[in-house]
Amino acid sequence: MPIHEKSLIRPENLREQENLVIEGMDVSGHWSTFIESRAVTDYNEALQEEIAALPGGENIHRCWQCGSCTNACTVNAVNPEFNPRYWIYLIRLGMEDELLRDKDIIWQCVSCNKCTYACPRDVVPEGVMKATAHWLELKGHTPKSPSMLFDEVFAGQVIKTGRIEDGLVLRDFFKRTGQPLNQPWLVAMVLGLVKRFPLAYLIKLGIATIRPDRTRGWGRARDAINEYAEEVEAQNRKALGLGAKGAK
């Protein structure tokens, strides 16, 4: 019988024996092809609640699968594989394995929020995408993205000193993403600065690089922010059944 839904056959589910002889009949190679079942055999009943516990995912239970979000989606117009409606369904039913297959696409949401305005049930799909990306990361399914690392370096410095020292952000970011400091565009920029900047500014800049400025009396604000961040992190981890590792 011909196979009508070839698109549903996944390469990893195809099984072939390189050398196989059955009752004297050589059925090596594609003669021995068979397809492993792709049946859903279990639901992860906790999945929806885990996503709902993360910021942005609160309203996922409202979805009725109309597809307005996917229809409105900026990313879907470029990549048809990007389908918020489908992921919301997988999460609501707890089809975790299926969701993980798309872990490298889900974070591509550009947060344009067109879906948020199209959704008749106020699910806030953009928030759900954010929560899902966060979930994937907390569970260790996806590594931290470069933009996430940048955010961490940036926010880390603000929280620590109450200020931003651009040069330090750049250096830390390069270090964490394994990029060399000696990049042509950066060298050109620094040389340009040295050539054109008044000496007094350059001296100030140099001192700031070695010993960054701090906002006076920042300590209490820092402690409060850290406390809150740790609290939220601990909450999120607890909701996902992860150990209380705390904020870093």
Binding site: T41, Y43, H61, R62, Q65
Partner: protein, 350 residues
Amino acid sequence: MSEPILIVGGGPAGLSAAHAAASAGRKVILVEKEDRLGGAPILSGYARLVPSHEWAADAIGAMVKRVVENPNVEVRLNTQVQAFSGEPGAFTATLKDGGNISAASTILTTGFTHFDSVNKPEWGFGTYPDVVTTTQVEQMISSGRGVRCPSDGRKPDRVAILLCVGSRDRQIGREWCSKICCTVSSNLAMEIREELPNSNVYIYYMDIRTFGLYEGEFYWGSQEEYKVKYIKARIAEVTSDGKRLLVKGEDTLVKRPISIPFDMVVHAVGMDPNVDNMTLSSVFGVDLNKYGYIGRANTYTTLCQTSRPGVFVAGAASGPETIDDSIAQGSAAAIAALNFAAGAVSAAAE
């Protein structure tokens, strides 16, 4: 005054019609084939009713009491109408236990029959003890025993409710939607979750028809408050892996086959035409519609008119119906019968 009104069937529609006609001062004779009044909600042991959440025994019990205590109503239990003859305004009904009744007009409130799930053997009813019907779950709840797997009395962790069992199915000649099963199932799902908070309840559907205001309380309430999951799939078969029930089908929204274990599978059984409808049709000389329910002559001028003048119909006898609409139709039929009888009398006087 003129002859009494004969009402056949003591369920919600019949009780409502009897109350309405008797309250208007008319003599009513209520014939019921079973040994008590109340109809399906009482005879089948329903639990809490949609949409009031009142226990059936209380809600319908009050209707029974009201009718029984009305001096204008004469109740005849354990009997059926065997023969029916005469003209509008002067009918004669012969009962099975002997005796004739003279009636000016008649209202048929003969109700429906629950679909027998044995007719869909692929869904395991009759083969596996833990495959039950919505009616059985109603009984588990109304009896106070709680929802338990019939095989060993354990509390089910995972319950699947299959919708449209005996409805919307050309294979078995039932093309109609039974109207109430979606709402009843979501209501039952909430009751199961309330009794067994650790359980997970899944409803397998093709379309969800929790019509009108049921959308909020039942469809969304079951999902938002009670975490009931709705999966768009028509189940192909229910088997067993020796320990638990195995439900197979296709999740059509993700185009993936399903093969999932459950502790209990509940058939949301539909409403069949009353198995006695062929007999009723020939005894009372009324036409059935193409589905086998008692046919209505028209929709707008006289809601409850059958093909035979002077014989009216109300409730699930004429098609799948909710309890509250059956009650409303009972009243409408009573008004129609009263007017009709009065018209017949004045026509005779002229």
